[in-house]
């Protein structure tokens, strides 16, 4: 941040956000200059096209509300990452494309134009990612930003929720080219660990991917799919799930069926929001930005 300490900024922001920080990763980043610090925003599970007034009576407005909230952030992120389920599933390929187009148009109002995407199963599992690729390009890829390596994985184009042998081989080959001392951020839709396989909250071969990440000292995983904030460690690797921008889901295995949490008229938009992730010296700092209470 410029002119004042980021921690002070978080206190001053008054956005009702919750900071989850400290020691989450990146212990090897001490040598990086303070000027390399940056933050990005994670938005997830927007489910454009969803209909269900009991769950979200503002299904047409929630994404636009989130776009406005991101635009109102006092300091804009370096980039925005959408971690899947951009659209709600449809069995009609033409309707899927219509929803993807509408989603693209709406997020076109974001002030930040550096936006990256990965699909969720609602976007890609019925056509192996064909429509998604037409709009947003490859479903798995890598990039680097200010000293941090990023890997975006696709664990949804295979409808069984697997990365597959080819992608695992690609991941292994790519990781082999990286300096293990450099921080690594992994993005996926489904959790890479077995959070709740009976609710499809897992990746069939996710353990193989996590094993490939283990040699990296500073690595963190960000994902969506479960429509709630959740933090989990596999060894030294933290996994952070994001809230949805359409409807929340119950806590893992907290009830017999995985059904959306009903809309609470007394607390509209409760459980919905987005996240900012800042690299801050040795720390990776997460701040949740609930939509509830925003104008």
């Amino acid at each position: 941040m410029i002119g004042f300490d980021r921690r002070d900024f978080l206190k001053l922001a008054g956005l009702g956000g919750v900071v989850f920080a400290s020691g989450l990763g990146f212990p090897g980043r001490t040598a990086m200059a303070a000027g390399d610090d940056f933050y990005f925003v994670q938005m997830s599970d927007t489910h454009w096209g969803f209909q269900g007034k009991q769950v979200n009576p503002d299904a047409q407005g929630t994404l636009r509300k989130a776009v406005a909230a991101v635009n109102e952030l006092p300091h804009q992120p370096d980039f925005i990452m959408f971690t899947g389920d951009l659209t709600h599933t449809t069995d009609d390929p033409q309707e899927r494309r219509r929803r993807l187009a509408e989603f693209r148009d709406i997020i076109g109002d974001l002030n930040v134009k550096a936006i990256r995407f990965i699909p969720g199963e609602h976007d890609a599992s019925l056509d192996e990612g064909e429509a998604f690729k037409e709009f947003f390009g490859p479903t798995h890829y890598t990039f680097a930003h200010k000293g941090i390596n990023f890997v975006a994985l696709d664990n949804v184009s295979d409808p069984s929720g697997a990365l597959g042998a080819d992608q695992l081989a690609w991941l292994k080959a790519h990781l082999g080219t990286l300096d293990r001392a450099q921080p690594l951020v992994v993005l996926a839709h489904r959790p890479l660990f077995d959070l709740a396989p009976e609710w499809d909250w897992a990746t069939r071969d996710g353990a193989e991917a996590v094993a490939l990440l283990m040699p990296f000292e500073s690595v963190a995983v960000f994902y969506g799919h479960i429509h709630q904030e959740h933090h989990h460690m596999t060894g030294h690797i933290p996994h952070h799930a994001a809230t949805s921008l359409m409807f929340p889901l119950p806590a893992p295995k907290s009830q017999p069926k995985r059904v959306p949490v009903p809309w609470d008229a007394a607390a509209p938009y409760r459980g919905l929001g987005f996240r900012s992730v800042e690299t801050y010296g040795r720390e990776l700092e997460l701040e949740e930005h609930p939509l509830a209470g925003t104008t």
Binding site: T89, D91, S125, L126, P159, S160, G161, P197, D200, R258
Partner: protein
């Protein structure tokens, strides 16, 4: 708790891919055959009734596309594919109700694609 003896017989599975005639040769004697057909977004039948101790083979297939068949309580996991038969051999040893569901995302009704095995005395 392991409530049933389950085995997805490798020989039977291989035979299943080859066709029903070969499959029949691979079956254990006295196994009752229960056919379960998956299609979006249901299993037919959705409720499978078994007797405790009865040897059974579930023959799972799909009418339209790839579907899953997961019974996590007992560690059972298979897939139903059009034109193929997955044979799941089991001998229930405990009475009870055991839920199964599709874990291969198959469309708008995927979350509701489920069924149950009911074992009685």
């Amino acid at each position: 708790m392991i409530a049933m003896q389950w085995k997805i017989c490798a020989a039977a599975f291989a035979a299943a891919v080859l066709g029903g005639g070969v499959l029949a040769a691979a079956l254990e004697p006295r196994e009752r055959v229960v056919r379960v057909t998956a299609r979006r977004f249901e299993y037919d039948p959705p409720r499978v009734a078994l007797k405790r101790g009865e040897p059974v083979v579930l023959e799972l297939t799909s009418r339209d596309r790839r579907h899953g068949f997961k019974l996590p309580e007992l560690g059972i996991h298979g897939e139903a594919l059009p034109g193929e038969v997955l044979a799941i051999h089991l001998r229930p040893e405990v009475a009870g109700t055991f839920d199964f569901a599709c874990d291969v995302f198959c469309g708008s009704g995927h979350d509701d694609m489920e069924g149950e095995i009911v074992v009685t005395e």
